[in-house]
């Protein structure tokens, strides 16, 4: 088979698997800090129980993120040597800063955060939590900066076919970077809120009414309810930014074949790229013009302006719709749950049942969104600078196919094991309830004041 398409699938598989875990750790670090600070302020041991339940999820997710991240750093060289040869002068430093400023920080203090509660003072333990949470966020900052630069490159010049940086500030804070960073950080927040909500709902369904379950559940539900409207607004702003800088991506997202005013919003369709039309279309008249131009007669860019230079329409169109659809579902579920928790101080069973599958809704939306934006950049690897087809390495297709097959099997098994452990941890916590042993009580000689008791 064609090494290009195989390498693309392989990279897509690796990075899709990888992003699942940073999407959790970026925000979970801050949630853990919240638990820790609440414990520091109130001395209520239920907060510390919630902390110790979720720090295990954090550790596992972090390990999955590290190992799949190591894979990514090798992939550039093994499959895409043309990438670093052309834009290595830009991409290299951004990746280097990620490792130097974030990766080491997380890795070193994670040990203290996980295993150090009895070995360091409470203040240092809180500080370790701050540093790990900060590290994951700084990590996201550099990676998003690089990805955004590939979408909307700025601050460089081409000399002999190689990119050279002119202005690092412009490189890092390129036009789409602030929007993408905010969008991704909020996405991580939502992923974690629904993860916590879903697994807490599972504990609830198994009869767990412990304080630590309620505290985690409320944290998850209220965080989600607050973040989702902000995310919808931020996503809209991000879309307008894309309209200004990558109109062909917008045209594909909307499956709009001709540049026109009064463009309808397509709710459902099967885009047919050969015939340049949509089948089984369901539309809202003037919708796209209203959303994108805030006027019914606004002109929306169409694919006819970019012959041979626009992304494949079908995956971009559907990726976007899956993301938005999941977002709307998140809005409904989190606001309903917030209403019941706030006003009725209870959780109806059907709602809890709905929340359990929503555990992975953040993953679905995050992946769909990344597919939209990354496939939406094609045929370019770096917009206007380097085409994907020109960056692929000389590795034979059979090698790529073999390794791809093994990666896919491995990832599938690991994903099953990961989700299995999450459910196992939740059910174990449900069984132990508030009777789960608290660290610091077991080994009195070394311990801090037994956590709040």
């Amino acid at each position: 088979m064609d090494p290009l398409i195989l390498s693309r699938i392989q990279f897509g598989a690796n990075i899709s698997f990888h992003i699942l875990f940073p999407a959790i750790t970026i925000a979970l670090g801050w949630v853990l800090l919240f638990f820790k600070l609440r414990y520091n302020a109130t001395g209520d041991s239920a907060w510390m129980r919630a902390y110790f339940t979720w720090v295990k999820v954090f550790a596992l997710s972090f390990a999955m993120g590290v190992v799949s991240g190591v894979t990514m750093s090798f992939q550039f060289g093994t499959n895409w040597p043309g990438y670093m040869e052309t834009v290595g002068n830009i991409a290299g430093p951004l990746l280097a800063y990620e490792v130097l400023t974030a990766f080491f920080l997380e890795a070193a203090f994670l040990g203290i955060m996980l295993f150090g509660f009895r070995r360091v003072s409470n203040r240092i333990h809180t500080l370790a939590t701050v540093l790990v949470a900060g590290g994951t966020t700084v990590s996201a900052f550099w990676i998003i900066a690089l990805n955004s630069w590939m979408q909307t490159p700025a601050g460089f010049e081409m000399i002999d076919g190689k990119a050279h940086a002119l202005d690092w500030w412009a490189v890092i804070f390129n036009p789409s970077m602030p929007y993408r960073l905010v969008h991704m950080l909020l996405a991580s927040g939502l992923t974690v809120s629904f993860l916590i909500t879903g697994l807490s709902a599972l504990r609830y369904l198994y009869g767990d009414r412990s304080e630590s379950m309620w505290k985690a559940l409320r944290t998850g539900v209220f965080t989600a309810a607050i973040l989702i409207p902000i995310q919808i607004f931020a996503g809209d702003q991000h879309g307008l930014n894309t309209l200004a800088h990558q109109p062909q991506k917008i045209a594909a997202m909307e499956a709009n074949w001709n540049t026109d005013p009064n463009v309808p919003l397509v709710l459902f369709a099967l885009p047919d790229e050969a015939a340049k039309e949509n089948r089984f279309e369901v539309t809202i008249p003037d919708g796209a013009s209203l959303v994108l131009r805030h006027s019914a007669s606004g002109v929306v860019p169409g694919l006819n302006d970019y012959p041979g230079n626009h992304p494949p329409v079908f995956p971009v169109f559907w990726g976007f719709r899956i993301m938005v659809g999941t977002g709307i579902l998140m809005l409904i579920v989190s606001w309903l749950a917030a209403f019941f928790l706030k006003r009725r101080h209870s959780l109806p069973k059907p709602l809890a049942l709905l929340m359990v599958p929503m555990t992975i809704s953040g993953w679905v939306a995050t992946l769909a969104g990344w597919y939209t934006t990354e496939i939406g950049r094609q045929p370019w690897l770096v917009t206007g600078v380097l085409k994907t087809a020109d960056a692929v390495g000389p590795v034979p297709g059979s090698h790529v196919a073999l390794t791809l097959a093994i990666y896919l099997i491995l990832y599938l098994l690991l994903l099953i094991a990961y989700l299995g452990v999450l459910v196992h941890l939740a059910l174990k916590a449900a069984k132990d309830g508030d009777a789960s042993p608290l660290p610091g009580v077991m080994n009195a000689a070394m311990s801090q004041p037994a956590a709040g008791e």
């Binding site: 972090f62 190992v67 190591v70 060289g77 280097a96 203090f109 295993f115 050279h164 690991l414 299995g420």
Partner: protein, 334 residues
């Protein structure tokens, strides 16, 4: 020679990359080694062995990311050439690292009945990753030769490097444990030392024989005089450590970290020898560090950050090691 940045920067980065690789080999060496020793240990000892590396392994592996990152960032041409040539061994290495990395966490969190399976995966992953690293080292010193002879040599180095990692793991266990496990670790150290020494001799002989250029760097007068301390000191350290294994552990467990430090010193000496052999090439006999280097303005931008951040990283790494100093007990999440 006058000092100019375009000449100095690639040199500085080659040094930094070398440092990152050396630190990686020593630090991840002992935790990979403990994974290999899982095959020889009893179930009851495995929790303690994990506890001896649990808080550190994440940070240890980060040095590999830094080393590959520096190769990628500072020498993008070499990154592509080396990694495409080593496509399959790199893949095997990655699968090994993935398996052992996740096994660390899974073994502690799955229901008790499934723990054995993850212990086995931890061993398999550690062994695979070590073998792949050794194989790549072997192929690299022969100038990325992947003929039949190169593969056979790669296999030999793979075995010896794994033994060397197991020796590091044993030395770390001598430092971090006590009682039966510690005595067992002493015996492991003695066995694995033999293969370690064999591997170092094999690499030291093969490197100059495979390349006339490297041969001349070592065996011409007066270089041979200046360089002779390298093999002599290594050999003496080996002999001293070998004798020590008959007297360990010492009363009151004095100097229990010495075997580990001695091995680290041997690794450092071997590494210095390799660095001398290959300088100034980053891809043996094909690309020098200057031909493969990134643009000076990019290197300068990274250097600023590195100079500020690297000492901080080393400082807090030491701090983390100090927090978890002393003998390992059962690791608990607290």
């Amino acid at each position: 020679m006058t000092f100019d940045w375009p000449t100095a920067l690639p040199l500085i980065f080659a040094g930094l990359m070398g440092l990152a690789i050396l630190i990686y080999v020593i630090l991840d060496g002992f935790d990979l080694g403990i994974g290999i020793l899982f095959a020889a240990s009893a179930d009851s000892e495995q929790d303690t062995m994990i506890a001896a590396i649990g808080p550190f392994w994440d940070a240890n592996e980060t040095w590999l990311v830094l080393a590959v990152g520096l190769l990628l960032v500072a020498f993008p041409m070499a990154h592509g050439t080396i990694l495409s040539a080593l496509y399959l061994p790199v893949f095997v290495l990655l699968v090994g690292l993935i398996l052992r990395g996740v096994a660390f966490d899974f073994r502690a969190k799955v229901p008790a009945g499934k723990k054995q399976r993850w212990n086995r995966i931890f061993f398999i992953g550690s062994a695979t990753a070590s073998l792949a690293q050794g194989y790549m080292l072997g192929v690299y010193v022969l100038g990325l030769d992947v003929g039949l002879g190169g593969m056979a040599f790669g296999a030999l180095v793979a075995l010896c490097l794994s033994a060397a990692y197991a020796a590091m793991g044993s030395a770390w266990l001598i430092y971090k444990t006590e009682g039966d496990l510690q005595r067992k670790a002493v015996r492991w150290l003695r066995t694995t030392l033999v293969l370690t020494a064999l591997g170092m001799v094999a690499v030291s002989l093969a490197t100059p024989l495979a390349s006339p250029r490297i041969f001349d760097k070592w065996f011409l007068w007066p270089e041979i005089l200046y360089l002779s301390p390298l093999p002599i000191v290594s050999a003496l350290l080996f002999l001293w450590l070998w004798r020590q294994t008959f007297h360990l552990p010492k009363p009151d467990d004095r100097h229990s970290i010495l075997p580990f430090l001695t091995l680290a010193a041997i690794f450092a000496l071997g590494f210095a020898g390799l660095a001398w052999s290959f300088y100034p090439y980053v891809v043996p006999d094909r690309l020098t560090i200057w031909q493969a280097a990134s643009a000076p303005e990019s290197l300068a931008f990274i250097l600023v950050g590195t100079v500020v951040v690297l000492p901080i990283i080393i400082f807090y790494s030491f701090y983390a090691y100090r927090v978890f100093g002393g003998k390992a007990t059962d690791l608990t999440y607290d």
